[in-house]
Symmetry: D2
Subunit: 302 residues, 4 copies
Amino acid sequence: MKPLYSGIIPPMITPLTARDTLDIAGLEKLVERLVEGGVAGIFALGTTGEAPSLSYRLRRELVEHTCRFVNGRVPVLVGITDTSLVESARFTNEIADFGVAAAVTSAPFYFPAGQPELREYLEELLPELPLPLVLYNMPALTKISFHREVIEWALDQEKIIGLKDSSGDLTYFKRMVKLAAEKRPDWPVLIGPEELLAESVLAGGHGGVNGGANLHPRLYVDLYEASARDDWETARQLSAKVLDLSNRIYHVGQHGSAIIKGLKCSLSLVGICDDFMAAPFHRFHESERKIIAEHLEALGIQ
Amino acid sequence: MKPLYSGIIPPMITPLTARDTLDIAGLEKLVERLVEGGVAGIFALGTTGEAPSLSYRLRRELVEHTCRFVNGRVPVLVGITDTSLVESARFTNEIADFGVAAAVTSAPFYFPAGQPELREYLEELLPELPLPLVLYNMPALTKISFHREVIEWALDQEKIIGLKDSSGDLTYFKRMVKLAAEKRPDWPVLIGPEELLAESVLAGGHGGVNGGANLHPRLYVDLYEASARDDWETARQLSAKVLDLSNRIYHVGQHGSAIIKGLKCSLSLVGICDDFMAAPFHRFHESERKIIAEHLEALGIQ
Amino acid sequence: MKPLYSGIIPPMITPLTARDTLDIAGLEKLVERLVEGGVAGIFALGTTGEAPSLSYRLRRELVEHTCRFVNGRVPVLVGITDTSLVESARFTNEIADFGVAAAVTSAPFYFPAGQPELREYLEELLPELPLPLVLYNMPALTKISFHREVIEWALDQEKIIGLKDSSGDLTYFKRMVKLAAEKRPDWPVLIGPEELLAESVLAGGHGGVNGGANLHPRLYVDLYEASARDDWETARQLSAKVLDLSNRIYHVGQHGSAIIKGLKCSLSLVGICDDFMAAPFHRFHESERKIIAEHLEALGIQ
Amino acid sequence: MKPLYSGIIPPMITPLTARDTLDIAGLEKLVERLVEGGVAGIFALGTTGEAPSLSYRLRRELVEHTCRFVNGRVPVLVGITDTSLVESARFTNEIADFGVAAAVTSAPFYFPAGQPELREYLEELLPELPLPLVLYNMPALTKISFHREVIEWALDQEKIIGLKDSSGDLTYFKRMVKLAAEKRPDWPVLIGPEELLAESVLAGGHGGVNGGANLHPRLYVDLYEASARDDWETARQLSAKVLDLSNRIYHVGQHGSAIIKGLKCSLSLVGICDDFMAAPFHRFHESERKIIAEHLEALGIQ
């Protein structure tokens, strides 16, 4: 039995031209780049998509255009995480008809819920959703992790169809892979941090939701495929390239926003879309942009 | 020169009867209890008000009714914190005409902004707001604190009119009191944790935004007033009562939600409003409710 | 019934002239400064004393000379915290005869013990000690706090005679004051952070173990005494001076070592002792020393 | 060019029969089990060895006997981490002649040093040591990590000969592997968490310092060797066994001490040594011991 999703599902950045203004032309080019790059799906409105910083109006607009541009070629997953269950449910209902394959939620992230509360939250959310649900473990930003008991419960819910883990804790990831494999071989367990993509496949994972795939989808797809077919010589070489991309693009400037800024700046430099950032962040200054440009050249990315 | 606000401004709980359903009758009784209790204002939609867990529809409804019930007797402050600047601004514009005195914002709480980014965020938010702004320091839930340099900048903005500090770090509080006193004697610096109310006044603070004032406003008002007139013998006695209330009402049950649950349960027991909690939390079970009832009796609260 | 200790018990810095070399002449001058400044005791080998960074040989030497210089004028308390119970006990036995009044221990700080484990640790340590014991709550550096249940147990142990709290959490402090007052009115509860000295006395505390008292003991003694006799006008003025000293002396340079560096540099500038720091820290450079010198002048400290 | 060490170097538990009493017979049996199990070295006095909880007298005794029992068959590495540079250096000099191959140090763990301070600490420590030095990254217990700039400096020090990383952050591990490979192909980079052993070898690592190898050295040696020769089918099977051992042995009982307790209890059950724990921990109760016994049977470990 194959997992429902496998391969690379980029957490798509959200192209903007100004506050609350979508870069629609940029979005179209980005979607083409991803689909042509061989991705297995697109995850809109995740952390890399700056979802919590966007208005709901713009989020709807983004989903609508993304689905239109994708046009059924790959599944579109959409982040619905909110601190309010009612808003999560409302938004999911508004976008369900655009052609969305699944909703994705992490934990409500203002009040840190206890694990029983987290399970009850999902229990209450589930019937409100007109879409299947993927869980998204992101403790660095939500303050809490999905513990084993919540995942075990989730594996019994038909409507919950997979897990994305961005904890960076590969031991946790392996434990979740094992739980899923025992109960639901159709349940994909996908890794967030791209630096661990090859290792996550060795560990039994089914693919990556990797920010860098916005910029160079083929590299990540090739790395996943080499790993999945046990071609570890190739995987090692490609993994070294991914690490190099990470070292060069995600550490220019300081503060936690460096990853998204680096990606947006890179995509702007290669002519895909604007690099406007939603508040509280701002695009790179010219000096940082120059460094990114040099790094892109060194990486051979155009 | 007197600070703009001084005294007790309770962070009002949000009475609910069901998911996304306001307990309007309960709200009216609660507002009366607070105003009659001598509060200096009401702060709706803070952490104690479960704001991030509520739909925007219900938040609007709450503000509208609260302003109607208060009817100008005390200023109504409203929390507008969101992870999205656009949503914060939109909401503030929607409620400004209801008779709101000021908006209150903490830091955008999904992405932890660096301090320069936090300042820029406020700089961009300010012109979008039709109301003056109070800052709300809540690092345990927003991940970041307002550092000295941001507060120094804020003191130069006429439209920013005060600070509520819920860090629990009284040294930080004293530093901010000193900054404000030097530049803007009209700037109130208010303390969140009620256990520190008397000490915060000794430290130069101007009052409290204390959850317990929902339940027993007069106790907190009396404690503030005794402290403010340097009647420390009375203040010590009342402070012991506040600590006793805190020990009895906020530590039943586990998880971080115990404070709000304890307050809502107590208000339900004394006949003010329903104790329904917004997801991801739930009201106390009967066994916990019984303990709270006993504690209320021991505290002499009816 | 009076608490066993009350007033200011400075956490004495350890004067060094080189790695593993005590500045004996400096120590003598420092002890005189403290005793003449009116302190209620001296706490050697705490955090401010860089205890964990010193060899046991030097620690013994320091205790021996300190007791000799103090010569019974005030009680000498000595930090015995170690990650190894056996080493803590051995050291305490070695120094007991020098004239030490009490040992002081925080939690073993490599492995973070659970609360029952922490209680058992103290239970096993206690019979090994030829001295009474003061508990020292320092969660920022030991990773764990002494929770209520451990303090309640400690209050039943005759040999445990007090608590120093350096958590910076005045609500915790107040809770502990209340526990002690109910069971053991002889039990002093002393505050670490000097910025909170006045407020801690209002809260029922019995004095301070304040680093700044190394530099200006009289200021802290006066502040304590004004607070203790309910002279809050004086207390407020002196408290502002303490905050000013803290702002000027403890925030030069970066990293967590700024407080001890600032104190040692200041004591060197006023001619008391050398400012050599134990590894992993180093004394200030000339540029930082100049800033400290200016601040001392502004503070009127010679 | 081969790394100086490769394969499995167990962080040996310290067999005790009572407080400050070494279980010498147990130690001999344990050493035999490890050497016969094919380990590439033995690491005494690490975290798993409870080093910080032991007296220096016992530490010396342990090293002396360990070297005697090993008798040159494999290199013996010894943890020298202390909060005091002087004590670290003193201890290293005392044990150097017993036949120790290298000293191992993590960061001084009471005061959290800044990165420049950490580098200077190592710079001062190095000339005091009569042995080569391995760095040990253990941020969960030392509060700080060895950052890139410190490792880059370390790679230029001939006397620093490798890195053990117990951060659990495989992305960090990969970055360090890359740095080492570029500058010092002889520098082993070894992984702490055994659940990541196979993945760490794929990532370029040279082996594991894995607690479970105390109990079942052959399993870890086989897993390392399969990974090192690119036999990933075997590696996956053995890796699943390691994860199973981890799930069964390290999560009985609560608190952070569960791993060492589980190991010692297991070794006691299979007749190797006593399971006495140094304070602040205690051996398992009978009920937990029974669970461990069942798990050992399920794992086929005798």
